[in-house]
């Protein structure tokens, strides 16, 4: 056994690759629909007033955010974990019937959770907390899914052959612990049907209905501690885990600095958790907490940039690979978008800048240069790297991947530049006033001024979706008609047909 390469078992990884792609298409499609609904409000009722309830912006919006966060991104995290975990721990899932069973239950229960989320959100059943809309029965299911993933992580670590844990594993562990803590605390809620109020009255509302355990400012603080760190531990930490594995593996280069990876990891862990208060600037939250949120946001720049710089320096002297491989292009551009959005966020968290940026489209643009340019690029690159290894096939088309790269890059650029212009314009219009303090513009004036940018945003999103469909097609063709490859072709650079 020790003398030949391990036969890794990618059954569960494959399952999650499938959901990554399917839920990615769903989430991004809904996103594009929403973008055009904002540009052309009549689209809200385009299918008739009978189904307007299901097609309007407010009903679809949580479906978009939750499908891309908990559907696409989390599936990508799980898929890469079930791939990377085995390889860097040098242990196969096939070696433990228990872990294999846990992995499969993890997947099927996750599917049940996804179905419950889609149905309940479409029906309008929601706790109305952003990114935490699921009612308590679904929350319980999600906690179980999460615990199963934890069993899988620590189980695999428990039977590993590699003595030290690779940096990616640290990041996956952090993802697990971070989300577990955040999700539990923010979703503390009281099912009103089962529990009595102060007057001893129970049976209020439907059986699935609940209210938050916290009230007022406390609720807002917990919510944005959660909301901000869901970005940290869902969109940053596991994606860094991917970049630490897939970039050096694909390029055959060693990581630039072990020290930098360690310091970036621990400082990111420490600093990120304090910055959530910047979502509540100029609110009823105590002044010192607002200041703390801003200060920690600024300090957060360097830990974030540390990982990105480590990635860029890993490619020192390897320009030829960057120029030739679209797969590496995805990862390098992802690192630079990561740098851009992790500087943009802290700048928007400065109180004086936030006074203009808050509630504008600049924030929406910021989120999307992160998720489109960084998260989704990195996940797609990871899946492109994994596909030939799990299917033992060559990537179906390199030129398709190249085209996809440029179409999606254009899509991201259109998205964030249009929102950049729209957000700054909007903020300035809201603040504009005459010498007597009267506002110059009413809200509808800003809507009219922003219309062209809303349209451009929709076009950018549509381009990105088209690119994603090309990605899905490429992976599908790889799986079905790709040329069979030998193990020795899979060491580093991914084999691709022209």
């Amino acid at each position: 056994m020790e003398n030949r390469p391990l036969e890794y078992d990618y059954t569960v990884a494959k399952m999650f690759m499938l959901t990554t792609i399917v839920l990615g298409i769903v989430g991004m499609l809904v996103g594009v629909i929403l973008a055009f609904e904002l540009a052309f409000p009549s689209l809200n009722t385009v299918l008739g007033s009978g189904v307007a309830e299901y097609t309007n912006f407010s009903r679809l919006r949580p479906l978009h955010t939750d499908a891309v966060i908990f559907g696409f991104t989390l599936s990508g995290v799980f898929a890469t974990w079930y791939y990377v975990g085995q390889r860097v721990l040098k242990v196969s899932m096939a070696e433990s019937k228990f872990l294999m069973a846990v992995g499969k239950i993890h997947f099927y229960l996750y599917i049940v959770g996804v179905a419950a989320v889609v149905v309940s959100l479409l029906m309008g059943i929601t706790t109305s907390k952003e990114y935490a809309e699921f009612e308590w029965p679904i929350d319980i299911a999600i906690v179980i899914v999460w615990v199963l993933w934890g069993v899988s992580i620590f189980g695999l670590i428990g039977i590993r052959r590699e003595k030290a844990l690779y940096i990616s594993v640290w990041y996956y562990i952090a993802t697990f612990l971070g989300i577990a803590m955040l999700y539990l605390f923010n979703n503390m809620e009281v099912p009103t049907y089962f529990f009595a109020d102060g007057a001893g009255q129970a049976g209020i509302g439907a059986w699935y209905h609940s209210v938050s355990m916290y009230a007022g400012t406390n609720d807002a603080l917990v919510q944005w501690w959660y909301g901000h760190n869901a970005v940290a531990f869902g969109f940053t930490v596991p994606i860094v885990a991917m970049s630490y594995y897939f970039l050096p593996k694909e390029s055959g280069q060693a990581i630039y600095s072990y020290k930098l990876s360690l310091l970036s990891f621990w400082s990111l862990m420490f600093v990120y958790l304090w910055a959530g208060g910047h979502h509540l600037l100029f609110s009823t939250v105590p002044d010192w907490m607002q200041t703390m949120g801003s200060v920690f946001s600024i300090v957060l720049i360097l830990p974030s940039w540390g990982s990105a710089i480590n990635m860029l320096l890993t490619m020192k002297g390897e320009w030829k690979q960057v120029a030739e491989s679209p797969l590496i292009k995805f990862m390098i551009l992802a690192s630079t978008f990561y740098m851009f959005s992790t500087l943009e966020g802290p700048i928007q968290a400065i109180k004086s800048v936030n006074a203009i940026a808050h509630f504008t489209d600049w924030i929406v643009g910021h989120v999307h240069d992160g998720v489109l340019g960084w998260v989704a690029f990195m996940i797609m690159a990871s899946l492109f790297h994994m596909a030939p290894r799990v299917f033992k096939k060559e990537i179906y088309s390199k030129s398709l991947m190249n085209t996809q790269f440029w179409i999606q890059t254009l899509g991201v650029i259109l998205y964030f530049t249009s929102m950049w212009i729209a957000g700054i314009t909007q903020g300035m219009m809201w603040r504009a006033h005459d010498a007597f303090g009267n506002l110059t513009y009413s809200f509808v004036d800003t809507v009219a001024a922003l219309h062209p940018y809303f349209f451009i945003r929709g076009v950018g999103g549509a381009l990105y979706l088209i690119g994603f469909l090309m990605f899905a097609y490429n992976i599908y063709k790889t799986w079905t008609v790709g040329r069979q490859v030998e193990e020795r072709e899979l060491t580093n650079a991914t084999p691709m047909a022209a």
């Binding site: 072990y258 002297g317 320009w319 700048i347 314009t425 005459d434 303090g437």
Partner: protein, 308 residues
């Protein structure tokens, strides 16, 4: 030129251009420190990111990976024992020192209050407004009144003050402020039931006229714009509303126009109910000066073109 430098320059110029466009569309810098800082932030963001990314991407072309590897490797991935980039380490250390300083000494939490800052700013603004208000021409007053109107009144009454109609019944949902067109139905209701929605002291008592025929005659006369022969019973109304229906300041509103007295009284103490809902008590939001200005603007007829 090297492609990387070219890309860096194009990106920087494009992003700065977009920022400039955004400043130029509407709103603008407006001499507002917040706007200026936001633009500064945007410029710093673009330049810093492009500069640092260019520096490292350029190293992919010119530099070579070197250093001692750690003993372990994972799935064939090694890690160099290289030191951390010097600039990165120094800036990280500086932000930590800055953060500690800012939070404890530079901007001490106990010495700052958001509400305090708000109060100070409002007080300063009010003082400067009072100073300017002392010598306004009538035309300037109308323009300023229009600005208040656009924000506070136009959402229901429209920017031209023509109100809005219920598209099914044709009834007014928000009044046309250009003329006071009282319907017969409404006048009859007010005579029978009384009214004090506009906020005049005491309001109007119910049943000032008793006889149905009298009520009908007066209501028809008022709906018709008080033209033609005046019914004798109107004298009861005229004792407060004036024989020409022009109203009496502080006592009773005009029946023909939204004059300054009516608008001021309504905004300060009225609780006007409309089809949409009760009109907000604007006095809570507006200063006395703003009420003065908007009343002048409404009395002038919101649809009337103003001189520049």
């Amino acid at each position: 030129m090297n492609k990387i430098y070219l890309a860096a320059i194009v990106t920087t110029l494009a992003m700065l251009g977009f920022t400039y466009v955004a400043m130029d569309i509407k709103g603008g810098l407006n001499d507002d420190i917040v706007n200026q800082l936001a633009i500064l932030g945007a410029v710093v963001l673009v330049i810093a990111t492009v500069f640092v990314v260019t520096k490292y991407v350029r190293q992919m072309q010119t530099d070579k990976a070197t250093g001692d590897l750690t003993e372990e490797n994972w799935d064939g991935i090694g890690e160099y024992m290289n030191e951390m980039p010097f600039g990165w380490s120094v800036i990280f250390l500086l932000t930590i020192i800055w953060g500690l300083w800012y939070w404890t000494a530079g901007y001490p939490v106990a010495a700052y209050s958001q509400i305090g800052e708000w109060n100070e700013e409002v007080a300063a603004k009010n003082a400067s407004i009072a100073q300017r208000a002392a010598n306004l021409t009538p035309n300037e007053k109308l323009h300023l009144g229009k600005a208040v109107f656009n924000v506070q009144c136009a959402p229901c009454h429209g920017t031209n003050g023509k109100g809005q109609e219920n598209y099914q019944t044709g009834d007014l949902r928000a009044e046309n402020l250009n003329k006071r067109a009282l319907s017969k139905k409404y006048v009859e209701k007010v005579i029978r039931e009384g009214s004090n929605q506009l906020g005049y002291a005491g309001g109007m008592p119910p049943m000032m006229l008793q006889d149905d025929a009298d009520i009908d005659a007066v209501a028809t006369y008022i709906e018709g714009g008080m033209k033609g022969e005046q019914p004798a019973q109107y004298a009861v109304c005229g004792s407060c509303h004036g024989m020409n229906g022009e109203g009496m300041d502080f006592v009773a509103p005009s029946l023909t126009a939204y004059n300054v007295d009516l608008v001021k009284t309504l905004l300060t103490s009225g609780t006007k109910k409309g089809e949409i809902g009760t009109m907000p008590r604007e006095a809570k939001i507006l200063t006395p000066l703003q009420i003065e200005l908007v009343a002048a603007f409404v009395a002038n007829g919101p649809a009337t073109e103003l001189e520049e």
